[in-house]
Symmetry: C2
Subunit: 492 residues, 2 copies
Amino acid sequence: MTLPPAAPPVALILFGATGDLSQRMLIPSLYHLWRDGLLPKGLVLVGAARSPLDDDGFRAFAAESLGRFVAAEHKDDASVAAFLQDWRYSAVDVNSADSMATLKATLPSLTDGNVVFYLATSPSIYGSIAQGLQQAGMTGGQSRVVIEKPIGKNLATSIEVNQAVGKIFREEQIYRIDHYLGKETVQNLLVLRFGNMLFEPLWNNQGIEQVQITLSETVGVEGRAAYYDTMGALRDMVQNHVLQLLALVAMEPPSDMNAAAVRNEKIKVLRSLRPITPDMISTHTVAGQYTAGAVNSGAVKGYLDEDGVAQNSINDSFVALRADIDNWRWSGVPFYIRTGKRMPTRYSEIVIVFKPVPHNIFGRGGGILAPNKLIIRLQPEEVISLMVMAKEPGLARDGMQMRDVPLDVSLTTAFAGQRRRIAYERLMLDVIEGNGTLFVRRDEVEAAWAWIDAIAEGWKRTGHTPKPYTAGSWGPSSAIALPERFGHRWHD
Amino acid sequence: MTLPPAAPPVALILFGATGDLSQRMLIPSLYHLWRDGLLPKGLVLVGAARSPLDDDGFRAFAAESLGRFVAAEHKDDASVAAFLQDWRYSAVDVNSADSMATLKATLPSLTDGNVVFYLATSPSIYGSIAQGLQQAGMTGGQSRVVIEKPIGKNLATSIEVNQAVGKIFREEQIYRIDHYLGKETVQNLLVLRFGNMLFEPLWNNQGIEQVQITLSETVGVEGRAAYYDTMGALRDMVQNHVLQLLALVAMEPPSDMNAAAVRNEKIKVLRSLRPITPDMISTHTVAGQYTAGAVNSGAVKGYLDEDGVAQNSINDSFVALRADIDNWRWSGVPFYIRTGKRMPTRYSEIVIVFKPVPHNIFGRGGGILAPNKLIIRLQPEEVISLMVMAKEPGLARDGMQMRDVPLDVSLTTAFAGQRRRIAYERLMLDVIEGNGTLFVRRDEVEAAWAWIDAIAEGWKRTGHTPKPYTAGSWGPSSAIALPERFGHRWHD
């Protein structure tokens, strides 16, 4: 069920064009794509938002975005000016037919409805935008719509969002972004797994001891309390980013890289996640909430003292989990997950810990044989390291001395001189090219929510409230204890 | 059958102390060991040779060796002088009982015959030296004797050498050096194989497509024609170095690293080598002989024009082979071997070529999926590289672009700041410590000769004479064709 190649769109309409995401990520990404000659010829870029700006007013806004979020060496006045010339702006009220007609009038004539609608707005208006677009006759043919998390805050509300958009657009027109999938190292994980013979024979419960996924942030709620305090780490991070990474690590080899094949394998993983029942809550989950402490040598306040956080909030700013995948490949292999705010450092990392060698032929003198590890670091730098035991050079008196050394694919050094791209660039280009492989299908979103809901429900039922942890620490001590309960430790 | 730990020797007697090997390798190695505090306290070093030198004369000779073959940063006048103080010299005639008695008198009193005899002499006098030592009463207890190639020039003569020494010394007193086994990367091969889970599941005919061992030299016969013209590449290089490397690559995991366990596994490999019968000579072997050409931009003469080479010599200065190991692990996996003089560059390398992935999920756009390779380079620099496919960063229009990138353990950079040791240092220290793991047992020497003899015999019987190759090329064109016959290519 590969789709025929999509015709290049004639226009991209960016809803929420004056918002934070547009400013930081989307307008700079479009600029880089444009500068690298990757946008289709003549593509019309349209900013759409409520603000009563004219074209020039919006161009000034976009210029400011580029000024702040594109490094100096990648821009010059001439190219910025030329890029901005492609932009138009339309002040829209999505509930007004007139307003949508005005928007449509900014576009070149649509031959096959081939427009990309990028909804960088609150999910609460995804449905209204979709309806407005339909009423204006813009949603046919190969038009595509891009939406992003949060797609609901549980299974029921995610179904609502998906249905509101799904009434207007067919599933294959809908591109659900998880920007983690746009990262180079995530795509490299697929190449490592399926472009090499090296790992596949070990990539199962015979060869892998455990898998760890850590997504840690140093920031606190940072003015997003109104949103975050209703979500928490479990729903804000695990439901999407973490489970997507987990699915890519665990999936069976797809028959090819097309969207259907890859997503069919991912959904199988998500549906194989062992439900966390109330009796597993205390052994397999830890929720945490930061208290006042210090991050990067600066004093920071506790979660409950953040502006906009409810008094006595029992929202989780940290979560640690043990997930299990109930299938032949992964039976018995723990996937340890942790993510949180106000951690000591910001990084995102997948660690595959292989089994130890069955027998140490070197004796004690050689040192401990550390198990092999494959470390896929997404953030802050993108690096893949394979930890192997090697002999230390030299003449140890009592035989060979060994230690584990990293075999690194540093994406910054191995491919030096290349600009590090914004994850959105890859994803925007894929939308434009009609390639859905790195996007999330509706059934994935809903399977992930079903698994997450059971945990949230379990917390409620068992009265599991977040344990306090000092800002700048690795979460509550019970989070350290979680893998230790099963004989493992968090990778440093 | 681990031996009890040997008592540290009280003396090391270096026969052939004024020879080339002593000067270039052995005296400098002893110096480095001494300087690093690795020699036993009070160890007496005795040079023994025919030259009528006194202690001071020999010390001057040793000082000159150090002057030429130890880098300036590793020596200073005080330490050189202190090291030389430990040396004595004895002019010996090994056939004279008086002379041997004089030698013995240079030694401190022997408590348990614990002396190392290092025979850096022609193999033709190994037997006489052993006899002389026995008659002087020096061969008992834990005394050890070190000998090196050539141990014979075929199976029959190697048995003679082994018997001559074996009449006097028990097998566990005899340390047969193959200096390749002293190289860091060779020992690292063992650590990589048996210290990591990563490779073992692939290390067989399911995971490995082929193995290549190349030992290339740029030099010609260089004044060694009298010896070399009676040996050739097959007997000078393949019988020992190449087959030792092959055995280490192919052996089953030993139960531990002791000499008996490791050598029991190596001998199993050598005995499993499929004999090359006369009908296989033309498909599985190529002999070559260099003609005039250029190496490193300098004109060099042909083999037949070298001083000391017999007119119309049909000696091989190059050999390429396909070896097969007839056991469960390796059935069907070719081991391609090539070694020769007057090649374009000097290097020694083992290349493990893994099987290709069973199916390319990335399609044609992503580029060719190169099979994984593990490259163990012994010379000129010692590097271990694992070639894996990774994604090239960036936004290829038609999907992901991949290429193979090396994951390197550079023993020079990963362990920076460490002096690169002479292979003999490791081996001399092992002799002193009574550790025979990296030495070659008699049955290995003889099994290797039996396999080599069949090839030499096959060449004779089938009239297979060396094909000419231009000095500075990679051997005769039939050597290029050899792996191609089986669908493979030499690694560049």
